[in-house]
């Protein structure tokens, strides 16, 4: 207990052995940014090759390795760890806890990540190349027909799953046991709520993913035939197992983003969230529905029509709670007193673009129409609207929003706003045209395309380069803030912000809430 009042340890040991939720949160955030850059680099290779018809820069085999690694690194390396980092930093500060419930496990769940991604990236240099079967790794392309590096891929997925499960158990334990007295469930900030539900999703589906890759491993090395038709197995079984994990996974990615935006929009509208209760219920219903819609990714795989109908109706239903969320955010803004600092800009960008992604999601849910949309660029456009403009924009908003609290310094607002506008324009230029080429018949995951798709692809590549380049400005702004930002010691950096994290000193001290705060107001949540 004694060393609680000391500052952080010195040197590299501080980071290697730390059990402090803020240190671990910081490491998660930097790590995920590094992965964002790496995954972004792969994306630039993809877009450069697709800039014009014909093969110019890479070979088709390498192109497939790029799309595969891009997807895996962005989903498992950039987006997921970034929100875990945010949870580490913010959840204890939001519920009035001194730290996470299981600090040593917390250290582990972070430190197994970097070697895993190093291993995954090293497959690029292996005989036969990196995995080239897409981030959805359908068997038998990922088993019988996979490069030898698939075994390393399987090992990586196992470790990533382990890390996620440890992280989520920690979050569940923290939220259930460490809330300050008086912080009832229905007073928790929405970010905490969304993460609690996300953590349950993770604990439920990561083992399913582990099962899928274990079956692959058995097929590849131990002579089983789970997914091999020749041995009496079933390649479609793989897809069911994968998407039973995969669809909840997309909500694992987006729910914390919902949470972030539900903190930021009220703060800059200077008005409480319109319907706190209904937001909580909507989140829970989305989480529930996410378990019974997985086969909407498999409409063309040859399901019986009854199954097709069931999954179509269930998927369409998701639009209801999703709509509730969007309506809530907008009525929160309604007759507020709005200002547009960078976090708000990114949240509004999220709101507009995520809604568009929700609309295309609704279109995709219509099974007969999906027979035309499926595996075309329309799907690529859809999921980038929800994952980049959804998850990544909201994560960016979160960094700008809480950075002053974390380091006691203010970022450069003009540069932040510039970053937003360039990102916004670049993103839309990159992904809006993909709706068109998809509808016009361009399949996804191809390194070269027919001439009628050329113009939109060039636009798309230009947009992608712009979006990619604008992230350098983000990195610069964050580093400049930490190094030489304008110091601020105001507890409440944003005048409209609500919640316990704004009652502690700025910058947030190494240890906070060693004695639990008193929760008095009914407005503990924002």
């Amino acid at each position: 207990m004694g060393d609680h009042h000391h500052g952080p340890a010195k040197g590299i040991g501080r980071w290697l052995f730390t059990t402090n939720h803020k240190d671990i949160g910081t490491m998660y955030l930097w790590f995920s940014f590094a992965m964002f850059i790496m995954g972004g680099f792969f994306a630039m290779v993809i877009r450069a090759e697709l800039f014009q018809p014909g093969m110019q820069l890479v070979e088709p085999a390498f192109f497939n390795q790029m799309t595969t690694l891009h997807g895996l690194v962005m989903v498992f390396g950039a987006i997921m760890p970034s929100f875990v980092g945010l949870a580490n930093w913010m959840i204890p500060m939001m519920i009035g806890a001194p730290d996470m419930a299981l600090p040593r496990m917390n250290n582990w769940s972070f430190w197994i990540l970097p070697p895993t991604f190093l291993l995954l990236a090293s497959t690029l240099f292996m005989e036969g190349g990196a995995p080239a079967f897409g981030w959805t790794f359908y068997a038998p392309l990922s088993t019988t027909y996979a490069p030898p590096s698939v075994t390393f891929f399987i090992f990586s997925v196992h470790v990533l799953g382990l890390s996620s499960i440890m992280g989520s158990i920690n979050i569940i334990a923290t939220v259930m046991n460490m809330r300050a007295p008086g912080m009832t469930y229905m007073k928790m900030p929405l970010f905490v709520w969304t993460w609690l539900i996300t953590a349950f999703l993770l604990v439920a589906v990561m083992p399913v993913l582990a099962g899928a890759v274990t079956m692959m491993l058995m097929d590849i090395h131990f002579g089983t035939s789970f997914f091999s038709a020749a041995g009496g197995g079933d390649p479609v079984l793989f897809q069911h197992v994968f998407w039973f994990f995969g669809h909840p996974e997309v909500y694992i990615i987006i729910l914390p983003a919902f949470g972030v935006v539900s903190q930021i929009i009220p703060a800059f509208s200077r008005k409480p969230l319109f319907g706190y209760d209904s937001m909580v219920y909507a989140t829970a219903s989305i989480a529930f529905l996410s378990f019974i819609v997985w086969a909407h990714h498999m409409y063309t795989v040859g399901m019986p029509v009854a199954g097709e109908l069931f999954f179509m109706y269930a998927t369409m239903l998701i639009a209801v709670p999703t709509g509730v969320k969007v309506f809530n955010w907008i009525s929160t803004m309604w007759r507020g007193s709005l200002s547009f600092e960078t976090p708000m800009l990114f949240s509004l960008g999220f709101l507009v673009l995520f809604t568009i992604g929700g609309f295309t999601g609704l279109m995709l849910s219509i099974a007969p129409a999906d027979f035309q949309y499926h595996d075309s660029y329309f799907v690529v456009a859809h999921f980038h609207y929800v994952m980049v403009a959804g998850a990544v924009f909201s994560m960016t908003a979160a960094v700008y929003y809480w950075l002053p609290k974390w380091c006691g310094k203010m970022y450069n607002e003009a540069m932040g706003k510039t970053h937003f506008w360039i990102s916004f324009v670049g993103f839309n230029l990159a992904f809006f045209p993909q709706h068109f080429v998809g509808l016009a018949g361009m399949p996804r995951r191809i390194p070269d395309y027919a001439l009628q798709f050329a113009d939109f692809n060039m636009m798309s590549s230009i947009g992608a380069f712009i979006y990619g380049a604008s992230q350098i400005m983000f990195l610069y702004n964050v580093i400049a803030t930490i190094v030489s930002g304008k110091p601020t010691s105001e507890e409440k950096v944003w005048d409209g912000a609500e919640g316990l994290e704004w009652t502690i000193p700025t910058p947030a001290p190494y240890h906070t809430f060693e004695t639990p705060p008193k929760i008095d107001s009914a407005h503990a949540h924002s």
Partner: protein, 381 residues
């Protein structure tokens, strides 16, 4: 430059054009570069109008939602002195925005269900075609016809030079094959789709068919051809390295033309059967071999055997070495390279001829011959 600018301008107007052209598209049936094609089938048109209906519903909701949002951004800004209201929570409003979308969804579910049921109505087709996905080509096999079953492979025809930018790209770049699927017009065709190695997906947008080709399973899909013409599509499921290079071309022709084509094909098949039993002279083999070489090998091995994507045949150690080894590569390919196993694509006569040709053309002058029976025996092991 000016031309470029104009083109980009037109592109920027894409969304607007999409809305305006919606009506004309539905009637016309031409291929759009920014919207779904209604295609040439009744089901395709239905899917298209379903797509447009949902698109419009989303657009209208979007205009409403974004309208409120932008009004708020405009009118309720702090810089204009807006003071925040304090209202929150209203059960009435919240019930309304849960129930109303729910009813809109039910409204969408009706047409979606009827169209889906039509897509699944596989019964009573006039003819059946087995479509098999291979890494990386399609095989078509006509069932239910009198006489020989006709079957053939359909390969990408675009030259490597076009792909690697050393010559001008043709009009149907990447969407052309050596031998298209030929179908009669006004016919309900059932496709029995399966995969040979990994999963592929057979997609022809204008015929409104997309079905996964899964090894070990036979999926059914159907279309009713209505308009003669050439319809192009591509493999839609990642199936490995050349996934982007296995297009589909369907040639819908009049019934007479189809009958004639089929008879020709059946004749060819019967002829090949006869030829299999024969022994050929060097000249015969060389002539046939040259034709086969130009059709199937030239793209990678070059017009005079100088190589390209594939190794040089002129002076190659294999083509000037032991015959069995050469034949083995022709039949089984070189796994893990672009050199495919041609044993399942070429008939034994063509295989015998092309190997003989490679051994005796381009200055290789080995003087030995391969007969169809040798190929047959090699395949048997």
């Amino acid at each position: 430059m000016c031309f470029e600018a104009k083109r980009l301008f037109r592109l920027a107007l894409g969304p607007v054009l999409m809305l305006l052209s919606a009506a004309t598209m539905a009637a016309g049936g031409e291929v759009s570069s920014f919207n779904m094609s209604p295609g040439v089938t009744a089901v395709g048109k239905e899917i298209y109008s379903l797509h447009m209906i949902i698109f419009w519903i989303c657009t209208i909701i979007g205009v409403g939602v974004f309208g409120v949002m932008f009004y708020s951004i405009y009118a309720h800004r702090k810089s204009k002195g807006a003071v925040a209201a304090t209202f929150h929570e209203s059960t009435k409003v919240e019930i309304a925005w849960t129930i109303i979308p729910f009813f809109i969804l039910i409204g969408m579910a009706f047409p979606a269900t009827t169209t889906l049921l039509k897509i699944y109505d596989n019964d009573e087709a006039d003819m059946d075609v087995v479509v098999t996905g291979f890494q990386w080509k399609w095989k078509y096999e006509y069932l239910n016809e009198e006489g020989e079953n006709v079957s053939f492979f359909s390969n990408l025809r675009t030259a490597q030079d076009e792909i690697y930018n050393t010559t001008e790209k043709g009009e149907h770049y990447l969407l052309e094959v050596d031998e298209p699927l030929v179908l009669p017009v006004d016919t309900k065709v059932r496709f029995l789709v399966t995969g040979n190695d990994v999963i592929h997906s057979w997609w022809v947008p204008e015929l409104a068919v997309k079905k996964d080709a899964v090894p070990g399973f036979i999926n059914e899909a159907w279309t009713r051809t209505t308009v003669e013409g050439i319809y192009r599509g591509q493999c839609a499921e990642l199936c490995g390295k050349e996934h982007g290079f296995m297009p589909i071309v369907v040639n819908v022709v009049s019934k007479e033309e189809y009958a004639q084509w089929l008879a020709e094909k059946q004749g060819e098949a019967a002829q090949i059967k006869d030829l299999m039993a024969q022994t050929f002279s060097m000249d015969e083999l060389m002539e046939r071999g040259k034709a086969t070489y130009e059709r199937s090998c030239l793209a990678c091995h070059g017009a005079s055997g100088e190589g390209g994507v594939g190794t040089a045949i002129a002076g190659s150690a294999v083509a000037t070495g032991e015959l069995a080894g050469h034949l083995n590569i022709g039949i089984n390919g070189v796994p893990g390279t672009a050199m495919q196993a041609f044993g399942s694509q070429l008939n034994d006569v063509d295989m015998a001829a092309v190997i003989t040709y490679q051994r005796n053309a381009f200055g290789n002058n080995m003087g030995d011959m391969v007969q169809p029976i040798d190929v047959f025996n090699h395949k048997k092991g």
